[in-house]
């Protein structure tokens, strides 16, 4: 024990832990947690003493990053310790494992960044380790902004200690003494639980000076985002922590060389960090035995949209998409037909139903289809979704969130959105399609950061797989999914009983007809509000 750790153990004898007292606390905490779990019908106990969530939905998954979510109390560090929390860190410290050894293990494990880019986390660590600097930093990217994705939120809210431990291990490996978690201000519960977790870990001596009585000191600070999607991009996030507008940097240096405050910085995503503990405890070979050769491990997806059971699904990489959608998530709602699966949020693409059969979820397969893994958003769409409208929706999002630094993204995406707006309003022409494709490619090739480079992916992938929908919008002025209102015509069918309800309720008085005689809608005057269809007692009004 060093002298400074002796000082701490005198001041705070009952609180700050060392290796032995951590082991003792684990035994006690495990008993307490087990007692609670035995009373809980939703949680089962495996043969090796670990816990799992009962029910088909969970048991069909392989939960590694989400291992403790829903099982432990995130507000109580002892629950985390009971499930071996901080054991990986303690083992490394106690056995004096060198940073180089950890980095080598991580590189061999090939844990690819779960935030979307899929870069080997170990290689980032290795580069940061190789540079000498007065300070080094670990940054956790918890600025999860994709609409419809909430993997990171769940981990932060339900198992914050797994992220803190991952950061501390990374810090120990590369020789960093400070970490930052950049979390969205829109996640108040995550912020609250992280604050509690950091305080408890500091109290127990699992963070702060001389962790567990060793020479290693590491503290973590929370930084709140302020509603800018682009801050999920690594260099924009660093700019934001430094107190600037969140605009991406020109990438002259990697962040692992010159990142935060121009010091070597390892920037990892929440889910990536949550995996570190398991790799360190169970070994590289165990990790590599899960998933595929080039994408080892598991991935958490937030499966939403037209599936029966929407929620978080963690499966080994390489799992067929069909098994996620049908086996685990229960298939498509209301017995409709699957049309496409959108992966990767606003930077991703749409995979058509015809290819879903043969798709497996790993970095290579998704990329080859023109989509991306992204952070794990997965939106399932059925025949009622219009692909042109979906592309328009994502472009609207990107235009709103573009930081404005580079011209292709700032101006180009706006032009794309205007074109899509025209098409969905029935004013498109056939010339628009090659124009959309060309402009999308230019934006992809010339934007400064990942946001711009991937912004037109939704357009390119829908153009590739659903060109017929675009053509029917511009040529026949028809929206097959009946989504684009301006392309629809309301029509009173033969079933009309002439009750006049539609006529009374029409806000623009475009329906004519005598009582008990079939009514007629004037399509010129109709504003397509849908009121008549809603009011018709015999469902005689249809859309075409």
């Amino acid at each position: 024990m060093t002298s400074s750790s002796l000082k701490y153990s005198k001041d705070n004898t009952d609180k700050r832990l060392d290796y032995n007292s951590l082991r003792q606390l684990k035994e006690e905490a495990y008993k307490n947690l087990k007692k609670r779990v035995l009373k809980d019908d939703a949680i089962g106990i495996n043969e090796n003493g670990t816990f799992y969530l009962k029910g088909d939905y969970y048991e069909k998954q392989l939960r590694i990053a989400l291992r403790n979510c829903g099982i432990i109390d995130p507000g109580n560090i002892e629950d985390s310790i009971a499930t071996d929390g901080y054991k990986a860190l303690a083992d490394l410290l106690e056995n004096n494992v060198s940073g180089q050894q950890i980095v080598d293990d991580m590189t061999r494990a090939n844990l690819r960044g779960r935030g979307g880019a899929g870069f080997n986390a170990g290689r980032k660590w290795a580069e940061a380790l190789s540079h000498e600097a007065p300070h080094k930093y670990i940054v956790c990217n918890a600025d999860e902004g994709d609409p419809g994705a909430f993997m990171d939120r769940s981990i932060l809210e339900l198992d914050p200690h797994s992220v803190l431990e991952g950061m501390a291990i990374a810090g120990y490996a590369i020789g960093a003494d400070k970490g930052f978690i950049y979390v969205r201000a829109e996640y108040p519960l995550a912020v609250r639980n992280l604050k509690i977790a950091i305080n408890q870990a500091m109290e127990k001596g699992l963070l702060g000076d001389n962790i567990l009585g060793s020479n290693f000191s590491f503290s973590i600070e929370l930084r709140l985002g302020a509603g800018a999607f682009v801050c999920g991009e690594a260099t924009a996030l660093i700019e934001s922590i430094e107190g600037h507008r969140g605009m991406p940097r020109n990438k002259i240096f990697r962040t692992a060389h010159k990142g935060l405050f121009q010091m070597p910085t390892v920037l990892n995503n929440v889910e990536t960090l949550a995996n570190v503990h398991m790799i360190m405890l169970n070994g590289v070979d165990w990790f590599r035995s899960i998933g595929t050769k080039d994408s080892p491990g598991t991935k958490v997806f937030s499966v939403v949209g037209k599936v029966l059971n929407a929620g978080l699904v963690e499966v080994p990489m390489g799992t067929p998409l069909t098994s996620i959608i049908y086996d685990i998530s229960g298939g498509i709602k209301n017995n409709k037909k699957l049309k496409a699966v959108q992966t990767g949020g606003p930077s991703g693409g749409c995979i058509p139903a015809s290819l879903v059969e043969s798709t497996t979820v790993d970095f290579e397969c998704l990329e080859s289809l023109g989509s991306i893994m992204g952070s794990g958003g997965m939106v399932v769409m059925d025949e009622d979704d219009c692909m042109v409208d979906i592309a328009r929706f994502f472009m609207e999002f990107t235009v709103e969130e573009s930081c404005g630094k580079c011209t292709p993204c700032r101006v180009g995406n706006k032009r794309i959105l205007e074109t899509l707006d025209r098409i969905t309003q029935g004013q498109g022409s056939e010339k628009d399609l090659p124009y959309l494709k060309e402009l999308s490619e230019v934006i992809r090739d010339t934007s400064l950061c990942g946001l711009g480079q991937a912004a037109t992916n939704p357009v390119l992938s829908t153009l590739r797989y659903f060109e017929n929908e675009y053509i029917s919008h511009v040529k026949n002025k028809r929206c097959m999914a009946k989504v684009c209102r301006n392309l629809l015509i309301y029509f009173v069918g033969e079933g009309c009983i002439g009750c006049g309800l539609c006529k009374i309720n029409c806000p623009v008085k475009c329906i004519e007809g005598e009582r008990k005689i079939r009514h007629i809608i004037d399509p010129e005057k109709c504003i397509k509000c849908g009121t008549c269809m809603e009011k018709c007692p015999v469902h005689a009004i249809t859309l075409s």
Binding site: A185, E186, R223, L224, G225, A226, G227, A228, S240, I241, E242, G243, H244, R245, G246, F261, C403, N505, P507, V508, I527, C529, G530, T531, E534, K535
Partner: protein, 162 residues
Amino acid sequence: MCNNKVKDDFTELKHIIDETGHEESALISILHKTQEYYGYIPRQAQGFIAHELKIPASKVYGVVSFYSYFVEKPKGKYQISVCLGTACYVKGAADVLKRLESELGIKFGETTPDLKFSIAQTRCLGDCSNAPVLMINDKLYSKVSPDEIPLILESYKEEVSS
């Protein structure tokens, strides 16, 4: 948030800055706390923060305007959304908006000085058969005529003062 906080007295703001730090990297954290305190980030406060952190006021303004979470105008306790969708528009939503603006003495996008009401335009609220409609916080008012506006507002004014 409380509207009586004197905008030229920065004692509390000074306290916030001292607590958070004077380095430039503390700027966003300071702005978060400032907005929590005032309910928005007043221009004067931005100037004060710039002075304390020894950075240009334009830099502070640049950051405030970049992030959508930060607002420079206080929002009212009651948010009035006037539907300007097509159906409401042809049924006279513009007149409703005009009356609302004259009753409250503010334009859309603004907030009354007592921080009770703000007016916002909104796209279709999906209640076309009851056009024109307006919404106050989560409560929907259908088939509103301009002459009903004072009566509707009255109920909120009373509620506020009680």
